[in-house]
């Protein structure tokens, strides 16, 4: 069976990252039910967070495990196609330790 991180750690990391981006002045869409509007699908996958500040677009995906590979592939494809999109693939451990890429 593939390794996956705990749902609790993943969800906590998404919450924390979304709040961090909010505090940094981004408009945030995030998969935090009841608190944020969910991001739109990108090539069939819904990222954890899509944040925007002016022309700066940030897509954040908090890794759950190997199962994320096609999704990350789809998000990288979008980043390759649009210069103003940045993509952050973060592990829950990084986020929970307060290591931000943006």
């Amino acid at each position: 069976m593939q390794h996956t991180v705990s749902r609790f750690d993943h969800d906590e990391a998404v919450r924390r990252y979304a709040l961090h981006l909010l505090s940094e002045g981004y408009d945030v869409r995030a998969r935090v039910e009841g608190w944020f509007q969910a991001p739109e699908y990108i090539y069939g996958y819904r990222p954890d967070i899509v944040a925007r500040k002016g022309d700066d677009w940030l897509i954040v995906e908090v890794k759950k495990g190997e199962v994320d590979w096609p999704k990350i592939n789809a998000l990288e494809r979008l980043r390759g196609e649009r210069d103003h999109f940045r993509l952050v693939i973060a592990s829950p451990e990084q986020v929970l330790a307060g290591v931000w890429a943006a």
Partner: protein, 473 residues
């Protein structure tokens, strides 16, 4: 009317019922006979030769069938229902027995006769065995059902999507407060970015947790005061999340166990809106399957209160599969109808399988949020018995109209479940308002319906072409 005439009328009425016709006094078999009436009288004479005696040999039985435009019967059918019939009462009893089985298997008397009477012996035995009582020894010799792991009663509610959201909301609130402390000088910016609706939601959540919120809102907290709130709520959150994680872990393992069970007997349709629902419905399931009459059958049952999947779609698919695999559904009727559970009831009937509906007898009146008057469970039980929209559904495969068995206590539920599993229901045919009803004797529940409206019946069975009979229970 002489005694002989009375006996003769009873015989003819029973014969008409046997053949699926509604008899009229002037000529009970007028719609059936394809021979001259005097010739039919000639055929009847040796059968009803003596007062109260019926001489219905295999040959004479088939002569009657031919004269009434029906195919001749094979020996197994005749012997099963009519061998040894020597009185009018015995003939009526045999006809009643046939009609019960016809309604049970095919929902149609004429088609049932054609399928059963013309079947070869092995096929006949196969069909008729689906209606016969089964010994409990087959069930009793199974291993006890011990695969499913218990979840502490107080943690069952943590598997619910509402509770899960409540924990997530608390986590969001705590995380927001933490970020306020971490970025103390910029907390105003954070709260402004968060927006008033979210801030309001956090304030309400804090109040629920008995935290006194300053009059000027979240920004009014002092640093140490906020740190202390975070410590307290963080501790509560951690405890909840640990319990939830453990409950989810067991729930996921249970789901995997359910998915690979070699067989499943019973699906329990529940509705869990609150933590109390989880506990009460799990308690009902435990009590039901611990009931002596049911326990010895070692039934495999799906208890949704101890099964979990984090994804709602997958959980729905899992439940649909369990419903499909189970032989019978037990529907726990709360005070109100709920879409999910109700669709499970309808889906079970549409699959041609029995449903036992439990409507609690005590307490009789149940308060429901948002309603002025409490719900009268007595009235609700009556509604399920008489005119509930879900009380009668058509099997999508066969067209047979299925009703539900309504019970009021756990003991009664256990008794009916045992009878369903062992094919031991007491059934009789009643006629009311132009319909034949197959009624379960103890609960007076209607479990099958056949209309005697000729056009409706003909049209119905023209579109619902008969295929295989209903499943064996």
């Amino acid at each position: 009317m002489t005694s002989g005439e009375s006996e003769r009328n009873r015989f003819l009425i029973a014969l008409a019922k046997f053949l699926g016709e509604s008899p009229v006094e002037t000529s009970p078999l007028a719609e059936l006979l394809i021979c001259d009436e005097p010739f039919f009288e000639e055929l009847l004479r040796p059968i009803l030769a003596d007062n109260n005696d019926v001489g219905l040999t295999f040959g004479r039985f088939n002569q009657l069938m031919l004269a009434c435009g029906r195919p001749m019967s094979n020996v197994p059918f005749y012997e099963y229902f009519f061998k040894g019939v020597s009185t009018t009462a015995a003939f009526e009893g045999a006809v009643e027995r046939f009609r019960v089985k016809a309604m049970w298997l095919f929902g149609n008397f004429k088609f049932a006769y054609r399928r059963l009477a013309t079947a070869e012996e092995s096929k006949f035995n196969d069909l008729i065995s689906r209606t016969e009582s089964r010994s409990s020894t087959t069930f009793a010799s199974r291993e006890p059902f011990a695969e499913i792991q218990e979840i502490p009663e107080g943690d069952l509610g943590l598997l619910g999507y509402i509770s899960k959201q409540a924990v997530n909301d608390l986590a969001f609130a705590v995380q927001t407060l933490r970020m306020m402390v971490q970025k103390w000088d910029e907390r105003g910016t954070l709260l402004a970015a968060l927006g008033e609706p979210k801030s309001q939601k956090i304030r309400e959540l804090l109040l629920e947790k008995e935290v006194t919120v300053p009059v000027d809102g979240l920004s009014g907290f002092g640093h140490s005061e906020l740190s202390s709130v975070i410590d307290r709520l963080g501790f509560q959150l951690k405890n909840l999340q640990e319990r939830q994680a453990r409950a989810e872990e067991i729930g996921i393992q249970n789901t995997q166990r359910y998915l690979v069970l070699p067989y499943l007997d019973v699906y329990v349709a529940t509705s869990m809106r609150s933590d109390a629902d989880f506990v009460s419905q799990h308690t009902f399931v435990k009590d039901l399957f611990q009931n002596a009459g049911v326990r010895e059958l070692n039934l495999r049952y799906f208890d949704p209160t101890v099964s979990y999947d984090p994804d709602r779609v997958k959980k729905g698919l899992i439940e649909a599969l369990m419903l499909r695999r189970a032989a019978v559904t037990i529907y726990i009727a709360g005070a109100e109808d709920t879409m999910g559970k109700d669709s499970e009831l309808a889906a079970t009937l549409a699959q041609g399988k029995p449903v036992i509906v439990f409507v609690q007898a005590e307490p009789r009146f149940v308060a429901v949020e948002g309603r002025v008057k409490p719900v009268d469970m007595e009235r609700r039980a009556k509604s399920f018995r008489v005119d509930h929209p879900l009380g009668l559904q058509i099997s999508a495969r066969t067209g047979v109209a299925h009703g539900i068995i309504v019970v009021r206590t756990i003991d009664e539920c256990a008794e009916m479940l045992r009878k369903v599993m062992l094919h031991d229901l007491g059934l009789s045919v009643k006629h009311e308002s132009g319909n034949f009803l197959l009624v379960e004797d103890k609960t007076k529940s209607v479990v099958r319906v056949v209309t005697d409206d000729p056009l409706l019946s003909h049209s119905f069975w023209s579109y619902f072409r008969h295929a295989e009979p209903e499943p064996d229970i």
